[in-house]
């Protein structure tokens, strides 16, 4: 733990939200991200100080739109959602109970709300007959590399054949049965985080974690109207990736141990919170942990521009996307690949196969170039 505190410097660790945890699962191979997340480092501030501010931050319009759509779905005791669940999962008519787990009076702390969620979910899992059906604003907890993060899924639906379903409400449209694959994938990853947290909670309470369904109900506006429609999303694959990534983070100490003892990402902020650490020094420190850049990082990681710049400077094959990088296994840079292809470079041990393929490809291109 002290190791991570030293990496982070004198600032408090940043808690993870579901979005950040989901982004972890998006690039499980990246050591840089694993170490920085495990240490709870503010990657955005780091990237900004390095001169590569992150391209995101959601627009206030998108947030308003998302909230408005969620309010529409949840209006009048989740009237729209009940209709969807009745159509989608055959929820029987008598099951229409709605419990707001966030509504416990006053302005309760996260801890109190979590305890309340724990109590009611326990009661729900214990006796099916008296349990409610929809649980709004539950507060779940997930342990990430020693830090507790509180997560708030949109709705948890229960008692569909004795199982819990996570409901994820998103405001991107499903047009003619199709939605943007990126957004669906992101929603699935985020929902997987909730499924995992709820499963952990059930296990903690001594119930069968498998009672949390791996099928998530995704609610989106349909076509060009604002009318909600629901689909089932299988998140088993995302769950597996997430679990693997989280266990890796638990063992991230192993990665951290290989790092130099005096390494730190401390920005050394002054009294006003302005970083005072020399940029070149920080650049060196961040560079000490290996990253695995992929173009997908551009939509999920705060450090993406820095890593892209680094990969470009090295002429790394990672810039060309995951598929190319995997196809060029064992060949690190673009210039090396080109050298192998035109025969100016002798293949090293284990590179014979890929060199043969590259030379073949080069030959084919040569033939076409002469012909055309």
């Amino acid at each position: 733990m002290e190791r991570f505190d030293r990496l982070r410097g004198a600032v408090p660790a940043r808690p993870h939200d579901a979005r950040a945890i989901a982004a972890l699962a998006a690039n499980p191979g990246c050591g840089r991200r694993a170490v920085m997340d495990a240490a709870g480092i503010d990657k955005d501030a780091t990237a900004t100080h390095l001169g590569f501010p992150a391209p995101f931050g959601r627009s206030p319009f998108a947030i308003t739109r998302g909230n408005a759509f969620e309010a529409l779905v949840k209006d009048s005791g989740c009237a729209e959602l009940l209709r969807l669940l009745r159509e989608l999962l055959g929820l029987p008519i008598p099951l229409a109970a709605y419990t707001d787990l966030g509504d416990i009076g006053g302005n309760p702390s996260a801890h109190l709300r979590h305890a309340h969620t724990l109590k009611l979910i326990d009661r729900a899992a214990r006796d099916d007959d008296e349990a409610g059906t929809l649980y709004d604003h539950p507060l779940l907890r997930l342990e990430i590399a020693g830090h507790t993060s509180y997560l708030e899924p949109d709705v948890v639906a229960f008692r569909l054949a004795g199982r819990f379903h996570i409901v994820e409400i998103k405001s991107f449209a499903i047009v003619d049965g199709q939605a943007e694959p990126d957004k669906v994938a992101a929603a699935a990853r985020q929902a997987a985080v909730y499924v995992l947290a709820l499963r952990n909670m059930l296990a903690e309470l001594g119930h069968d974690p498998a009672r949390v369904s791996h099928e998530v109900v995704l609610v989106c506006p349909e076509n060009f109207a604002n009318r909600p429609a629901g689909t089932l999303l299988d998140v088993r694959r995302e769950l597996a990736v997430l679990r693997r990534q989280l266990s890796r983070m638990a063992k991230v100490g192993a990665i951290a141990d290989t790092l130099p003892e005096d390494l730190t990402f401390d920005l050394a902020p002054d009294a006003d919170g302005v970083p005072t650490r020399p940029v070149s020094e920080l650049r060196e420190a961040v560079g000490a942990v290996g990253a695995r850049y992929a173009p997908e990082c551009l939509s999920t990681c705060d450090l993406c521009f820095f890593c892209r710049d680094e990969a470009a400077a090295e002429g790394s094959t990672e810039l060309l996307g995951r598929q190319v990088r995997d196809a060029l296994g064992g060949v690190a840079t673009v210039s090396e690949a080109l050298g192998l292809a035109d025969g100016t470079l002798t293949p090293g041990e284990g590179q014979e196969e890929i060199a043969r393929l590259l030379r073949l490809a080069d030959g084919i291109y040569g033939v076409y170039a002469e012909a055309g």
């Binding site: 009048s76 729209e80 209709r83 009745r86 008598p94 709605y98």
Partner: protein, 287 residues
């Protein structure tokens, strides 16, 4: 015209009395709101008098169109001309029509569709707090208060408004209550349209649209095909909503009765209307 002036004068007098009470109770915020209402009423009184007094008439730059009457405020803003009925009375009217606890969103929609009212969500934002302050400074001084619905933890349910004169059971929210109240809303809106039709008056389009929106989530109402965008038959909606309501009614009434029972046993007057504090929550945890 003189009837209208009488009504206005009555209202001005009542408002003056309320302002006096608020000032005596050191309730600055409420007094400010009431004073604003008073000024609006006085301006309206001036305007109503103007046509009878040609010398005064030219002073008014925008005389209010006659015939709008003192009911159902018009104009987009609360400070606009004509919204003589104060917000709390408009909300009371909508809640009385529905007869169930309702969120600001539902109140605005229902009032807009059935009463051609022009409430806005933002006007309702501080209503409950103002009412609570008024009640605490001089309890039971008003004939009714707009107050909270109680959850099973006896705290105020988030966002719902009720009327203090309702029985405690109706102001309690059990697990099935949101659904029951939604179905009741659909029934009340449907019945209101049926009543209008009986008297030979066509229901306003907004009312039919509201009913269509509600009916969409009531099982058993035939879904209109995309081609003909016919609004649902109110009688069918009422019947379908009743059918589902019958399924939930018993269990919901029991849950509400239990909450009401506990509220009566444990809470004081103000808490019973506006929700218990975290103290009762702690007691709950301990028991």
């Amino acid at each position: 015209m003189s009837e209208r002036l009488d009504a206005l004068e009555e209202r001005i007098n009542a408002l003056r009395a309320e302002v006096r009470r608020a000032v005596r109770g050191r309730d600055g915020a409420l007094a400010r709101v009431l004073r604003a209402e008073l000024r609006t009423a006085e301006r309206a009184w001036d305007r109503a008098l103007a046509p009878q007094d040609p010398a005064e008439g030219s002073l008014e730059d925008s005389p209010e169109p006659a015939g709008k009457g003192a009911r159902g405020g018009d104009g987009p803003g609360s400070d606009g001309p004509g919204s003589l009925v104060p917000v709390r009375e408009q909300v009371h009217e909508a809640l009385t029509l529905l007869g169930v606890p309702a969120s600001a969103r539902v109140i605005v929609a229902v009032h807009g569709a059935l009463r051609a009212g022009s409430l806005r969500g933002t006007q309702l934002a501080s209503l409950r707090r103002d009412e609570e302050r008024s009640f605490r400074s001089s309890p039971f001084a008003r004939p009714y208060y707009l107050c909270a619905a109680l959850t099973d933890r006896l705290s105020a349910s988030r966002g719902l408004l009720t009327v203090s004169t309702w029985p405690q059971e109706r102001r309690a929210i059990g697990p099935l209550s949101p659904r029951v109240d939604f179905l009741t809303t659909a029934i009340r809106v449907g019945e209101h349209i049926l009543r209008l039709e009986e008297t030979g008056e066509p229901a306003p389009d907004a009312a039919r649209r509201l009913l269509a929106r509600l009916a969409h989530n009531v099982p058993g109402v035939p879904v209109p095909s995309a081609a003909e965008d016919a609004p649902p038959d109110p009688a069918v909606v009422v019947r379908a909503a009743r059918a589902e309501l019958d399924v939930h009614a018993g269990a919901d009434a029991d849950a509400r009765a239990r909450i009401a029972e506990r509220a009566r046993a444990r809470l004081g007057d103000a808490e019973r209307l506006f929700g218990g504090r975290l103290l009762s929550l702690a007691r709950e945890e301990a028991s």
